[in-house]
């Protein structure tokens, strides 16, 4: 495939009624609100431009896009002139040509003439435009007054690890500044000075790009029409020559990118405008942090060892598969069929996940399959299925543009889902109201041009109390949308819930002490949500990772049903998925009780369907969940485990407990890119493939099934799904596919919500959101449009039950955890990129009051001890957290955040209660015992025997 050049229509399409006009005698009809420039571009009469690009509002400063319009005096700029019915536009004649040439001469008289050695030679809009307007001379010469001589004396700003800023090439079109504001919403850039002194500036005084507010999303680089802001990889290697459209493998937003290549080298990832999830925007992870795929730590050969204390031996694929199968069979022979199982990864493709769960069910003959969604969004699955009938978010991302009140709970989109965060910020700048429920003052509470209308700064662990208090206000102040409820919901259960919510114990006043928030604030927030127009809930792991995670999901669904916020644009309940394919891994039957499509293994009809297709008998009893697997391993009844692309030793709570379980296994098979923390206890290592090598699909948080296409060959010489098929065959059950599209065909054949999905359709340019079936042949952007999937919406009574994890005088503070923009989850990928420059270590945020009481200064090392264990981190004194709460991230293995988290979990799904741990913090000058041990382990468990020949 050659390089994909996307059309830039200069300005966005309008949204009004159709308007018909003539561009150079060509008739064109575009929506009202479109510009003349846009209309001209639509009929292939592109008008030269420099300051316009269709991701931004028109600016009208460059004066290149002048046109003549019949009956209009002068030569208006086409980017700022809206279309009118019957307009007659001339885009080219002698006068316009002369004007444009004249303007171009002025531009070029202030631009260095070094095109041949310029990084963007051949990929430069200034160069292209000079060509288009026929620039042949610069009458002003190149020695007159200009900015570039002065600017080129200053060093190029190379402070950002991924792109550089060379002011000498700047034409001051402000596209970068506008992209930072309009697209990203960070407001990190400005034009400082005036006239020839005008420079793009990343802020006050001596700030460079790295030290400024810049979040390195790449929007400015994307917008720059010259080489002023350009990727360092392009500076180093040159412009790319071919593109492959694929999907980012970081968070659940699922941004589409063009992987731009030279040969087999990935030069840059460029956000794809046609990608429905991101519409041409990106974040620092997806845009730049792909270097891990070729990092030296990457393991590309299969390895085995007798015991996890031995060094690794590199072996052939056949040998590794045979070794793994023999060990698994031996475990089953000795301890029973149910003594083995596995975990699927939300980082892998639907196709890869599907074959793993199929192998476990069909070849292992057990339902002991679970997924990392257990520890993040399993309560979402349970709660939404119970109340609405389907385990998924109800909206598209774009839906937020129609929201009037956004209720954000336990999520930090600007850090964890940045591209959606930017979309949300745009809507908030455009006037939507917001209520943020979070113990910490996240950027969506207050940052440039953002100020939440209500910040419910609750005590960690009291989510359900907040929802009950809001429900109480809705019910007792007559704010229920009675028409919606009576038409769409189960009335008997609604009345039961209404009576429950109305009880005095659920009033904001009764719950205020528990929540720690002024009851009036709660009342006003509830009134705003119920009466402010389209209300939408967005939430993250701050909802699910609690002992009442599932209760909370149902409580939010209750609130949305009671206020009539389902079934149209701008409303709904939206889990922000942490991983690229959490939705998909759940859809693909990764849970021990569910076959693909969320159908219970105990359901005879479903089981028969799969048994007939797979030609094997399946168990009707659910298998073990991840925590049960660990417990059974420690008991001695669970002996073998296949772990697909997931680092459970780092990500699961109570690390010591997990490590004990892993050590007790006879056979642990890890399929991964790196020798991760879990691999330290493994016997077989099967090298995995990065997303750049995968062929398949990811399903994002809006149920959108996105194609993932290989841009380079597997470094391990075997795709992950093939390795799994081989292991399955070695276990005695043949699985055979020519390519991943056949796996998707099988998924579609057996899963009603995927019935109409195929790689062929996706490759044909369709974007599909499940369910894709006979009723919704083109997919379902918005769910529950005419009624809830389960029939009648089910209100559930949601009693608030305090977690057993409470602070006391020994552990007086509550620790909660979250993420930071530059790092991703356990950091296996991002720690192996330059992203670590922004976040080299996990730190603990502590309120000035708590710090002073303990004599802690900013930057001190502090010990954080819980009932489970202790770890040492550096402290940052910050009023982002309230007194009594401390906060940390969990991106670095040595931080040991999960050494301190507890065994508590959601009552319904066992999702761990990561978000509340009672701790004590005090100054410390040494690593914790666990950290010392862990360092030792790193020395021994990762050894690889080097062949003498090498």
């Amino acid at each position: 495939m050659s390089l994909i050049i996307e059309n830039d229509h200069g300005t966005r399409e309008g949204t009004g009624k159709p308007v018909t006009l003539w561009i150079d005698d060509v008739q064109v009809t575009v929506p009202e609100g479109s510009s003349v420039m846009h209309a001209a571009s639509k009929v292939e009469r592109p008008i030269p431009k420099l300051c316009a690009t269709d991701s931004l509002d028109a600016w009208g400063s460059c004066r290149m896009c002048l046109v003549e319009i019949e009956g209009v005096r002068g030569t208006p700029s086409s980017c700022t002139t809206p279309v009118r019915d019957g307009m007659k536009v001339t885009t080219q004649n002698n006068r316009l040509e002369r004007l444009r040439k004249g303007v171009m001469e002025l531009y070029i008289s202030d631009h260095p003439l070094d095109c041949l050695t310029c990084p963007t030679n051949g990929d430069c809009e200034l160069q292209d435009t000079a060509g288009t307007v026929g620039l042949r001379e610069v009458r002003y010469g190149m020695t007159g007054e200009n900015h570039f001589e002065e600017a080129s004396k200053a060093p190029i700003d190379v402070s950002n690890p991924y792109f550089q800023y060379d002011p000498s090439k700047c034409i001051v079109c402000s596209r970068c500044v506008r992209a930072c504001e309009e697209t990203q919403g960070t407001f990190a850039l400005t034009i400082e000075g005036r006239g020839f002194d005008s420079r793009v500036s990343a802020g006050v005084g001596m700030d460079d790009f790295f030290s400024s507010d810049c979040v390195s999303c790449g929007a400015c680089v994307q917008a720059c029409p010259t080489a002023t802001l350009v990727e360092k990889s392009v500076v180093e290697h040159g412009t790319p020559s071919r593109s492959v459209v694929t999907t980012c493998a970081y968070c659940g937003v699922g941004c589409s990118f063009k992987a731009e290549m030279q040969g087999n080298e990935l030069i840059r990832m460029v956000p794809y405008k046609d990608g429905k999830a991101n519409e041409g925007h990106s974040c620092v992870k997806g845009r730049f942090a792909f270097g891990y795929a070729t990092h030296k730590d990457r393991q590309t050969e299969p390895m085995i060892r007798e015991s996890y204390t031995d060094p690794w031996q590199k072996v052939s694929w056949d040998e590794a598969i045979a070794f793994a199968a023999n060990r698994l069979k031996a475990a089953q022979a000795k301890y029973g069929q149910g003594s083995i199982g596995g975990i699927t990864s939300s980082r892998c493709t639907n196709e890869e996940i599907y074959v793993v769960q199929k192998m476990i069910r069909a070849a292992f003959g057990t339902n002991n399959v679970d997924t990392c969604a257990r520890v993040c969004h399993s309560p979402t699955g349970y709660g939404l299925k119970t109340t609405l009938g389907t385990s998924a978010g109800t909206q598209t991302f774009k839906s937020v543009e129609q929201s009037d009140v956004i209720l954000l709970i336990g999520a930090n989109p600007t850090d964890a889902h940045p591209v959606f965060g930017s979309r949300m910020k745009k809507r908030l700048r455009d006037g939507a109201k917001s209520i943020v429920v979070d113990p910490r003052r996240i950027d969506l509470v207050k940052s440039a041009h953002i100020r939440a209308d209500h910040h419910i700064q609750l005590r960690p662990g009291t989510n359900v109390a907040v929802m009950n208090a809001m429900a109480h206000v809705v019910v007792t102040e007559g704010l229920v949308n009675e028409a919606f409820v009576s038409e769409r919901c189960d009335m008997e259960e609604f009345e039961r819930w209404r009576a429950f919510a109305a009880e005095e114990r659920n009033s904001p006043e009764s719950l205020a002490d528990i929540i720690g928030v002024d009851p009036q604030e709660l009342r006003e927030a509830a009134r705003l949500f119920a009466t402010g127009g389209n209300g939408a809930i967005y939430y993250g792991l701050g909802v699910t990772e609690h002992s009442q995670g599932s209760t909370m999901v149902m409580a939010m669904a209750n609130l949305c049903m009671a206020t009539g916020n389902f079934g149209r644009e701008g409303v709904g309940i939206n889990p922000l998925r942490g991983q690229n394919n959490v939705q998909g891994s759940c859809d693909m039957g990764s849970f021990p009780h569910e076959l693909p499509g969320y159908r219970h293994v105990g359901d005879d009809a479903t089981r028969t369907l799969f048994e007939q297709d797979w030609g094997v008998e399946l168990l009707a009893e659910p298998g073990l969940r991840i925590p049960n697997m660990f417990a059974a391993a420690i008991d001695g009844s669970y002996k073998g485990m296949f772990v697909q692309g997931e680092d459970i030793a780092q990500s699961d709570p109570n690390t010591s407990h997990v490590e004990e379980a892993l050590k007790a296994l006879d056979i642990l098979i890890v399929q991964d890119l790196f020798l991760n923390e879990t691999a330290a206890f493994a016997h077989v290592f099967l090298p995995g493939t990065s997303f750049l090598e995968k062929d398949g699909t990811f399903t994002n948080a809006e149920r959108r099934i996105n194609r993932v296409r290989p841009v380079m060959k597997e470094q391990s010489n075997l795709s992950e799904w093939e390795a799994v098929c081989r292991l399955s065959a070695a276990m005695g059950y043949e699985m055979s596919y020519d390519d991943p599209s056949q796996i998707m065909d099988e998924i579609a054949r057996l899963t009603p919500s995927f019935a109409g999905v195929s790689h062929q359709r996706l490759d044909g340019g369709e974007s599909l959101q499940w369910p894709v079936n006979d009723a919704n042949p083109n997919g379902s952007p918005i769910m529950h449009v005419d009624g809830f999937v389960r029939g009648k919406g089910l209100f559930m009574v949601t009693d608030y039950v305090a977690t057993s994890e409470r602070s006391n005088r020994f552990y007086p503070l509550l620790l909660t955890t979250g993420r930071i923009l530059s790092q991703y989850n356990v950091g296996a990928q991002t720690r192996r990129t330059e992203n670590s420059r922004w976040h080299q270590e996990d730190i603990i945020e502590i309120h000035p009051h708590d710090a002073e009481e303990r004599g802690i200064a900013d930057g001190d090392h502090v010990s954080i001890a819980s009932r489970m264990g202790a770890t040492t981190l550096r402290a940052e004194i910050s009023d982002r957290v309230p007194a009594g709460v401390v906060y940390t991230t969990f991106h670095h293995p040595l931080s040991g955040a999960n050494v301190i988290t507890t065994d508590n979990s959601d009552w319904a799904t066992n999702c761990p209660e990561y978000k509340v741990t009672a701790v004590q913090v005090h100054r410390s000058n040494r690593p914790s015992d666990w950290q010392e041990e862990h360092k030792d382990k790193s020395q021994t468990h990762y050894r690889i025997t080097i062949d003498a020949a090498e």
């Binding site: 407001f187 400082e192 000075g193 802020g203 207050k446």
Partner: protein
Amino acid sequence: MIAPIPSSGAVSDHSSPLDSATEARARAICADHNNDPANLLEMLHDMQDEFGYIPSALQNVLADILNLGKAEVHGVISFYHDFRSSPAGKVVVKLCRAEACQSMGANGLIERILDRHNMSDFGTSSSGVTIEPVYCLGNCALAPAAMIDEQLLGRVSETSLDASIATHMQGGQS
């Protein structure tokens, strides 16, 4: 020769940390203008009147109060040459360089005044005289024009300027 105009906001950065009294005053000034970002220019004028310049650390405070990006505040301040980022000298002399004044010999006058204060460019002399160019003072009929510490002067000559500067240096009005 006449030196180019320096971009006042960008060049010298007087970035000492902000004392709490200054910050409190700055917040009070913003409050006087309803903390409305639309009134940013008025706030900046008030701050320069009060502090003599706009400490760069104040830009963060302004951004915080007005819910703007730091860069936005910086962009506004650096656009206007009249806002200074470091304290001026004891006397501020603004010399008009617009067309009418140039035609009446302003350029030569400026060179001689700079020379007299041992300066090769606009800025602040060791004796504490700040000399700045202006376009224009709107006093064309009385060109060449100057302004000393906000006092407008017309038909200035070397002698009359020297005398005015000397008076202002001693703290008096001419």
